[in-house]
């Protein structure tokens, strides 16, 4: 059996990082489209007070779309923050602590946002 770890690890053709690269772009396009959808609704005629603002997110399709975008945002931010920690924080223990804290932060914020969405 050929050795495929340590210095003998095969580093071509294994798609290292491809999934992160692709998911960051797919989630980005989703968020950009959501931004357009939101801008179009905000720019509709009429004064923008509480009723119209809350009304935008009251529609069920908008809730589903917002939920998908919140998850996309958390995933996108996870890939980006992980890149930052990997680039600047070298001690493995510290990096692990920061990565776990990032996940806690993102999952917590996403849970809060989803709660706001579905009690509306």
């Amino acid at each position: 059996m050929t050795v495929n770890h340590g210095s003998k690890r095969l580093v071509v053709g294994a798609h290292y990082g491809l999934r992160d690269w692709l998911s960051q772009r797919v989630t980005a396009v989703l968020m950009a489209l959501f931004t357009l959808v939101l801008i179009v609704q905000v720019l509709m005629p009429g004064p923008l007070g509480y009723d119209r603002w809350a009304g935008i997110f009251a529609a069920q399709w908008m809730k589903v779309l917002s939920f998908v975008v919140f998850v996309a945002l958390a995933w996108h931010a996870w890939v980006g923050m992980r890149d930052i920690w990997m680039d600047y924080v070298k001690p493995v223990g510290m990096r692990l602590v920061l990565q776990v804290a990032t996940l806690v932060w993102l999952v917590g914020c996403t849970g809060w946002a989803v709660q706001v969405l579905w009690r509306l």
């Binding site: 980005a28 931004t35 509480y50 931010a77 923050m81 990032t102 809060w112 946002a113 509306l120």
Partner: protein, 140 residues
């Protein structure tokens, strides 16, 4: 040879990195990272804005009041400044992201295009921030 060992540059540190003149594409790149980090750090504040603006008419009142009387120890203009920073971060991150996806999709990786699209990214995000910031601070 010990002298040659001493002359070797070794690992690049931040103090070495700042000695290089960064091209505009590099400025866009580091600001892309900085703006993403800023939005990540302020994410609970963003969710708070979403929560108070949408949950009820009473919470909507406290949402609008935050921009006038402030939030805790932060005065109203301080809240506006933080929101202005978030507006810039969002715009820069979005436009730089579109530039990124566009480069990925079209394989346009020439030096000239990198430079010109960097100028467009920086100018568009700053101009839009100024326009929205003027609205935020009640200039029109």
């Amino acid at each position: 040879m010990p002298e040659m060992t001493r002359a070797r540059p070794g690992t690049m540190r931040l103090i070495d990195a700042v000695k290089y003149r960064l091209p505009l594409a590099g400025v866009v790149s580091i600001l892309h990272r900085a703006s993403g980090l800023l939005m990540f750090v302020l994410l609970p504040f963003i969710v708070w804005l979403f929560d108070t603006s949408i949950s009820s008419e009473i919470s909507y009142e406290s949402f609008t009041a935050a921009f006038v009387v402030g939030l805790g120890v932060v005065p109203g203009w301080g809240v506006k400044l933080v929101v202005l920073a978030l507006i810039w971060a969002f715009l820069h991150h979005l436009i730089a992201g579109v530039r990124h996806v566009w480069m990925d999709a079209t394989h346009s990786v020439s030096k000239a295009q990198g430079q010109s699209s960097a100028v467009i990214t920086l100018a568009a995000s700053v101009l839009l921030t100024v326009a929205l910031g003027a609205k935020l601070f009640g200039l029109y």
